[in-house]
Symmetry: C2
Subunit: 166 residues, 2 copies
């Protein structure tokens, strides 16, 4: 759909070391945001491949957990706790409902809102997923050591606070 770009017909050789070794990325490999992003992408790729067996994406997985731990809560509360916009959470819940994993029940006290719960099928799938998760997560802990892994999470939480405090 973009208009085709026409560029100057200037000629030049590539850099002398073109095609050989690695590129110099300057400060990028030491930037908090860059390392965070590349790592997060790798971890999510891994997660998605691992949980594809169960048909669960990261956000779906987190929604099932949140509903299990807080049955009967409003849709907007669950969404907010997960950092997902209410409007975007609707499609996610539609999928889980369609698959028979969750149920939205009109509240009798406030008929605007939905109380979310897991179906038995949803609870069973989540149990299976939690089993997979344990092995999945153990790899990180065993590669880093339990102390270092906990330290990583603490540092990430600190960084998050620094960023969101603006």
């Amino acid at each position: 759909m973009r208009a085709t770009q026409r560029r100057a017909a200037i000629r030049a050789d590539h850099a002398p070391n073109a095609g050989t070794g690695q590129l110099d990325l300057g400060p990028l490999p030491n930037l908090t945001g860059y390392v965070l992003r590349r790592t997060q992408l790798a971890v999510f790729d891994d997660f998605i491949r691992t949980f594809a067996l169960l048909g669960l994406r990261p956000a779906q997985f987190s929604a099932l957990i949140a509903i299990q731990r807080n049955p009967g809560r409003k849709q907007s509360e669950i969404a907010a706790a997960l950092g997902i916009k209410q409007a975007n959470f609707v499609a996610l819940m539609d999928k889980l409902d369609q698959r028979g994993l969750t149920r939205r029940v009109r509240s009798s006290t406030d008929r605007r809102s939905h109380a979310l719960t897991l179906t038995p099928k949803g609870a069973a799938l989540l149990q299976k997923a939690l089993g997979v998760l344990e092995k999945y997560e153990r790899r990180f802990v065993s590669q880093l050591g339990s102390g270092e892994h906990e330290r990583l999470l603490e540092l990430l939480r600190k960084i998050r606070l620094v960023s969101s405090a603006r």
Copy 2:
């Protein structure tokens, strides 16, 4: 575009503690991937707001750095080094070209390929951006301490390796 969902008209009260305190997210706040994701989103939000003055998104910023450090390299090499698919890198480069920040020059040795360079305008913008970046990055280092910050990056690199080794 989705078909409208019809749901059962069952009624139920919300959870007794609905509307009160925080939700219990169970294992989520201690999961590598979850904490990584929430942190990365917060850091990127912060980055995007900070560099909106200069009109630079994270990927554009990283592209300018990579081109500056490796002038004359092929478009495909720069894209690969940044972990961006060649097909998706085209639109990114179109934008930078249109803004007069970069130039794509046909190689005289391999006329299929483009040698990427910064224009003087691009180099000047990047200099400004690097100045902003230094202050931006300093917040993380000073909040964590230089040693802890370096440790964080090391742990992230290790985690990335664990995930991508599959």
